[in-house]
Amino acid sequence: MTADVSAEPETVERSGDVLLEVRDLQTHFKTRAGVVRAVDGVSFDVPAGASVGIVGESGSGKSVTSLSIMRLISSPGFIAGGQILFQGRDIAGLSERDFRPIRGRDLALVFQDPMSALNPVYPVGKQVAEALRAHQKLSRRAALERAVELFSMVGIPAPERRVHEYPHKLSGGMRQRVTIAMALANEPSLLILDEPTTALDATIQAQILDLIRDLRRRVNTAVLLISHDIGVVAEICEEVVVMYGGRVMERGSVEQVTKNPRHPYTIGLLNSIPSPEMKGRKLSTIGGTVPNPLRMPPGCPFQPRCPKAMDICSTKPELSDAGDGRQIACWLA
């Protein structure tokens, strides 16, 4: 695949090791009741080999962001604006034909529900082999042998036997290992994990998080982890992006954001998590509910629930440097 030079005249100054740059991404959905701006001006970077987490509640736009990067948004959704620079090239505007060689090879995705990511009528090993053969010249036999290796890398016991089994024969944890093996098959430079452990039990979640951490040490793949659980993000990632109402509220190192949050939303979110210290006391809450995406408030999406809202908040605050290496979208910052 030769680089399509015409697709990248707008390539902005590219710092040497940035793998993915999302710039002012807009992903909208046309509905009968109006346009939903599911992602409304999101920007962040993933340096090569780094691990970045996106946390947010339902409707925050975190999954639509990851689907946009994978170019898996289909009608009535569309990328309405912004850039997704992957290895310096804007993939937001690529045709499906030009993007297909990238998806699954350089960029791979692991979904929340492994059952929906696997084809129920083929043995799992064959599916991993197909993923390999889609991007590499390999015989069926060689691909299956590689699948066995991948299975053993992701900790599937008796891999030579397991490759011949059908998805329904495997447990949820094993299925998720299979989809991770499939995603890693072509040694992608970016692995997107969308709620990879949400459907799993606590002890199985611990196994999978352990696996992801271990793989990060062995394979130089950058990770973009999407989760509603900031605890999960804290276990895997160095950096975190906090989203709400289709926008980035705060972005910084996991340490900074979890220990010393500065955006009122992040502060409210972290304080509302039940902890042993809060036992016997009322939890602090964020009043109200997540806004209806069709009726987003003007300006800051968190403004109707924000304890510190001011008049100026009806104008959108830009995500800007807060001086300590992090970025915050708040007029108070």
Binding site: E57, S58, S171, G173, M174, D201, A202, T203, I204, Q205, A206, Q207, L209, D210, H228, D229, I230, G231, V232, A234, E235, T258, G268, L269, S272, I273, P274, S275, P276, M278, K279, K282, L283, S284, T285, I286, G287, T289, V290, R305
Partner: protein, 344 residues
Amino acid sequence: MVDADNQAVTTALDGAEPNGEDDVLLDVRNLKTYYPSRSGLLGRQTAWVRAVDDVSFTIRRGETFGLVGESGCGKSTLGRSVVRLEKAQSGQVIFEGEDVLAKKGRDLKALRQDLQVIFQDPYGSLDPRMKVRDIIAEGLLWQGTAGRAERADRVHDLASLVGLREEHLDRHAHEFSGGQRQRIGIARALALRPKFVLADEPVSALDMSVQSQVLNLLSELQEDFGLTYLFIAHDLSVVEYISDRVGVMYLGKLVEVAKAEDLYADPRMPYTQALLSAIPGHQAPGRRDRIVLGGEVPSPLDPPSGCRFRTRCWKAESLCAEEVPVLREVVPDHWAACHFAEAS
């Protein structure tokens, strides 16, 4: 009735319920809920799924008893069997001196008022065609003692109690967010002034910022009405926060029961140790190092002999395969089903 081989276990457990000095509201004794497993062309019953297998514990008046465990461990089946949403095979559930499982007809109806349920799924558990007003009033209508005016008053009171506004009452459930729906479900559960509420994963479908609102509401209602909760959840942090005492289930068995503080600080059963160490982001000082369990939960159709956890336990010895460990009081008010509970 079903099993001869379990008889020995049952006798071993007799008189060994984790029973405190305090006022007991609900006393569960040797509860078994089995499902027939059918196979073959004729659908013959070939085996039993032992979803709840000889479980005994007590819930004290006014407390929140948290029940944790992973999917398939039987925690929901246990909860549902206690309030008779699920038919137990054998055992007793003594509620204020009477056996819930033996009740029939009118007596059962009377008892159901005292035992109410808040369900996990605020989307599936509310009839989309009914107005909120009618959903909340349904129990009152079913009870049949309150007249129209009294019902209307009561619905208003309940709505304001759970933080719903007047104008919400004439809307349909689908118009509400998850958190608001759960408030409707709570109002419905409280309509008949129950003494005991089974809350089965009441906040797991909710967003973090809304979850804390509902947890606070449940605490307030408990204080105001002296409610007793059986709170089932897979989220270990939520259970630690809300519960007075916590029970841990594994493969149909109750394997540990203790005060929440004691259980989380000093778990005695290896499974509990592994489970608690798996809480993400909780590698705080004082917490144990993560124990990553190998393997998976065995099938409840054919559980391992002896201790059911032994196939994944790093402390297992030959004794564990031979003898079922009895849930016993290891230190005061701390019960564990492990042969080596004293040592750990």
